[in-house]
């Protein structure tokens, strides 16, 4: 039975362009305090455009209603649990939003004098040092704009060090359970990718690793805990194998929410790690970004970090551009500063002990879900899990219902679906990550929904296969969208 939600009226709304009518306006510019100029003269007549065809003209109240109505068509953490595995959809504290908007923070220009940027630089320095402590690594660059960007930067760092040692090597090893960004980032950094199979426990296969690692291998990219939510038991030994053959250990920090305050990658042999501040450190996903993907490295890799680097010059912070071994820039300016402010606010709010407590609750929540749903869903790997748990649809598949169908049915129950069909090593995966910011009542409600759907699959599989029913948009035809792409509005379409 569906208990968490019932439907209510939802407003229809056309596109901005369809609301437009000539002469409507939502703006008023101040009177010019200087003489107006003729664009045709100052820019050259040939450079001045005619009216922008189809560009909208709407009023302020219509703009507010337009975007408010659109917003109600979205699910959000503020509505409830968002159990997307590997995405760490936790509560986004609102004080973080407030402090990022303080004028001196939000309106700081990246080229304003360093003497008038000390506050921003101090925030970045403090965040760097907190992240170094949390990861057990020596130095942190806050420049990468997102997780995949951090991966690329991290692999470039490894390449730079290996080049300095005389041979950049040719390939990067990636377990078959890895996120798709890992191989794509390694390729951008100029490496061939070799996928390595997991063992029967879904973990790194040490024997295979020992066999594969040779003078051509630059690094192993590993996610730990891996995408099954399982800690790589042999990580220390894996690091030893790699290091003994001159290769490096890269860790994808997507799952750091399982480790903060419990174990530090730098302590178990990791050379480079990227973090997703929009996952572990609670900065909002905003419908797909912005994020931030800092990289943390060992002392040996520090000289290669992107320029500029913060340095202390007397009592002041300064930007150091003069770093000959640096890989260069991975983006303009210094990073997604507004995101960094929010992440530091999160770390300050929790403090050292609080961060560890958050990790404990995240792992407790995932284990509670595992225990509660194990009677109803197949658990392909029995290893103890940390912050997330991965089931398969093996039992439901017998009734013709797949993980994607169960996910869509979950929408009717008032939840965002879990991560569907990932990791690829599980047939029909249901990847569930509750995070620590779910209370027992919300978890019980989710468990109740999943249990109820499991029963529906037995009684009436078709009911689940045609879901969702209660939302304003029923199942979307993604195949048609790709077959004949319509990627912009035009009059009449």
């Amino acid at each position: 039975m569906i208990k968490k939600v019932r439907s209510h009226i939802s407003q229809n709304e056309p596109l901005l362009f369809e609301r437009s009518s000539p002469g409507k306006r939502a703006y008023q510019l101040p009177e010019l305090d200087v003489p107006a100029v003729d664009p045709a003269v100052e820019l050259g007549a040939g450079n001045v455009r005619a009216e922008i065809d189809g560009f909208p003209e709407i009023s302020e109240v219509e703009a507010i209603r337009h975007f408010t109505r659109l917003s109600t068509w979205n699910y959000a953490i503020d509505y409830g649990m968002y159990p997307l595995g590997s995405c760490t959809m936790k509560y986004n504290p609102r004080v973080n939003e407030l402090v990022a908007k303080i004028e001196g923070m939000a309106w700081a220009h990246p080229y304003q004098p360093e003497s008038l940027s000390q506050g921003s630089m101090e925030v970045m320095a403090r965040l760097e040092s907190a992240l170094a402590e949390i990861t057990g690594l020596h130095a942190v660059s806050l420049q990468p704009a997102a997780g995949a960007h951090g991966e690329m930067a991290g692999i470039l760092l490894i390449r730079a060090l290996l080049e300095k040692r005389g041979n950049p090597r040719k390939k990067v090893l990636i377990p078959d359970s890895a996120h798709g960004t890992n191989p794509a980032s390694a390729a951008i950094a100029g490496y061939a990718v070799e996928n390595i199979p997991s063992n029967e426990a879904g973990l790194l296969d040490l024997a295979a690793l020992e066999r594969i690692v040779d003078g051509d291998v630059a690094a192993l990219m590993v996610t730990n805990p891996n995408t099954l939510g399982v800690f790589e038991q042999n990580i220390v030994e894996a690091a030893r194998i790699l290091h003994s053959k001159g290769a490096m250990l890269y860790m994808d920090g997507a799952n750091m929410n399982a480790l903060v305050g419990i174990a530090r990658p730098g302590d178990f042999g990791v050379d480079v790690l990227h973090l997703n501040l929009h996952k572990t450190f609670s900065t909002p996903h905003g419908g797909g970004g912005p994020g931030a993907g800092p990289v943390a490295v060992t002392k040996e890799l520090e000289p290669f970090l992107p320029i500029p680097r913060l340095k202390r010059s007397g009592k002041k912070w300064a930007w150091d551009y003069n770093r000959k071994q640096s890989i260069g820039r991975v983006r303009a300016f210094y990073g997604n500063f507004g995101v960094l402010v929010r992440a530091l606010a999160y770390i300050l709010a929790h403090g050292g002990p609080g961060l560890r407590n958050a990790t404990v609750d995240a792992v407790l929540n995932a284990n509670y879900i595992r225990k509660s749903l194990e009677p109803y869903y197949d658990l392909p790997y029995a290893s103890p899990n940390m912050h997330e748990v991965v089931f398969s649809d093996a039992r439901q598949e017998k009734s013709g219902v797949r993980t994607g169908d169960i996910a869509k049915r979950l929408i009717d129950y008032g939840f965002h679906p879990y991560t569907v069909s990932f990791p690829l090593i599980v047939h029909g995966a249901l990847m569930i990550e509750p995070t620590e910011t779910e209370g027992k009542m919300e978890l019980d409600s989710f468990i109740d929904a999943m249990t109820s759907i499991a029963k529906e699959v037995e009684d009436d599989p078709q009911l689940v296969k045609n879901a969702p029913y209660s939302v304003r948009t029923s199942r979307v035809d993604e195949v048609a969208a790709a077959r004949k792409p319509v990627l912009r509005w035009k009059p009449g379409n």
Binding site: Y75, K101, H350, V360
Partner: protein
């Protein structure tokens, strides 16, 4: 802890349900050698009040309330109030990437509107859902041009933002893409077409120009395009000052646009987060990086939107993807979309005209270094004084001056790059003119 919504008795119940004695037992399976056997060396957590106090104090160490004449890729424009009203809504702020289209129509619709407006502004057929920023959009556009042409060399104008060129170098080096730079005409500040002719060859995949360029000058996009096409290369156009699109005619010679939309209501925020965009011709859609939203229908026949053409992307194609980019900048793109809906067709033009008028007022009191036509930014020689000295003088009047160009162009060590927008007051511009007198 206020963000952890459980009582101790609830934790106890949950541990019991798991058959676990204590919370620590949940970690018992970790190898002992990986465990951190001490507390993190970070101070204890603090209250909301103290957090606000801390950041307010840091903000006070930055420039506050200074009129500024800095542009150089980051512009100070007014931010209509409803931009914050909209993006503060939890339904936008706290939602994930819209993979589940049925419950993500809000953000999907807004991205479709963003893509449409980017096409309208750039004159392109298709625009993506946004990139990290303009500086990373550029190498992505260059790699795209390499895929389209099957060639690898990139020829980039020195009048393209210097930090964008540095980012291009970082990416290109690892892609085996040689990057060669060509110069600008010293008097006019526009690209040197003869130098471009010298540097371009049959192996060139792309020519990159920026307009308005880093010096604020409207550049010779059409001429660059003709040269590029004659050599079988694509023309990539960079823009950093998006408000200029309200007045400037898009050039039909452009094959790929790699731009930055920070000017559309994105606060400077010490350099980010911003949002880039890649726009191009229909025929190159399948070589585009980044996410795309497309229109379709739901099972009841209603119009609906979803992420599409994902077979280009890393989660499907892994190492053979068009890019490693995973996130876009949806919330930032939403800010731009709200901004553009507020200004609309007339407002964006008026806004651009005000920028033009302000910059030309300031320039009228000075002598721009370059003769090329400019939008809201221009270079000026600091006759007899060092640019830094002029800026120091202005700082005493609580004004942030321009960017000393010598930082990026040794040959322009005697020049400042000044930007005036609709936010620049006449009195402050007069003060700048006096300092430069």
């Amino acid at each position: 802890m206020r963000y952890l919504p459980k009582s101790d008795s609830e934790r106890r119940q949950m541990l019991d349900a798991c058959g676990t004695g204590s919370a620590d037992d949940l970690f018992a399976h970790l190898p002992p050698e990986v465990r951190l056997n001490r507390p993190l060396d970070l101070p204890p957590g603090i209250s909301e009040y103290e957090i606000i106090e801390y950041f307010t104090a840091r903000a006070a160490e930055n420039a506050n309330g200074y009129p500024s004449f800095l542009g150089a890729g980051v512009y100070h424009h007014f931010r209509p109030v409803i931009v914050d009203t909209v993006v503060s809504r939890g339904e936008f702020l706290t939602s994930y990437t819209p993979y589940q289209a049925e419950i993500s129509q809000g953000i999907l619709t807004s991205i479709f509107e963003f893509q449409t407006m980017m096409c309208q502004l750039t004159g392109m057929d298709v625009a993506n859902a946004s990139m990290y920023d303009g500086s990373t959009a550029l190498p992505e556009a260059a790699m795209m041009a390499a895929r389209v042409t099957g060639k690898g060399k990139v020829v980039v104008a020195r009048s393209v933002h210097p930090e964008y060129r540095e980012v291009l170098q970082t990416y290109a080096k690892r892609q085996g893409m040689p990057v060669e730079e060509f110069g600008y005409v010293p008097d006019a500040g526009v690209i040197d077409l003869e130098d471009l002719e010298r540097k371009i060859d049959g192996l060139t995949a792309a020519v990159v120009v920026q307009s308005p360029n880093f010096f604020g000058v409207i550049d010779q996009v059409k001429a660059a395009g003709e040269i590029a096409h004659r050599h079988g290369a694509l023309l990539i156009l960079v823009f950093t000052e998006a408000v200029s699109l309200g007045l400037l005619e898009p050039s039909p010679e452009v094959d790929i646009v790699a731009g930055e939309v920070q000017s559309f209501a994105i606060s400077p925020s010490y350099g980010g987060p911003f949002a880039g965009v890649i726009a191009t011709r229909e025929k190159y859609i399948r070589q585009m990086p980044g996410r795309l939203v497309g229109q379709t229908v739901d099972s009841r026949g209603n119009r609906a939107f979803c992420l599409t053409l994902a077979t280009r992307e890393q989660h499907i194609r892994r190492e053979r993807a068009t890019s490693n980019i995973c996130t876009n900048q949806a919330l930032v793109a939403l800010m731009a979309t709200v901004f553009l809906s507020v200004y609309g067709k007339q407002g964006l033009r008026e806004l651009a005209e005000q920028n033009l008028a302000k910059a030309h007022y300031l320039a009228g009191r000075l002598k721009p270094r370059f003769s090329g036509k400019f939008f809201n930014e221009f270079a000026v020689r600091t006759e007899g004084k060092k640019p830094d000295a002029v800026n120091r003088e202005l700082l005493k009047k609580k004004i942030v001056g321009g960017l000393p160009l010598g930082r990026f162009y040794p040959e322009l060590a005697d020049s400042l790059l000044l930007c005036a927008t609709e936010m620049s007051r006449r009195a402050d511009m007069d003060a700048v003119a006096e300092a430069l007198a």
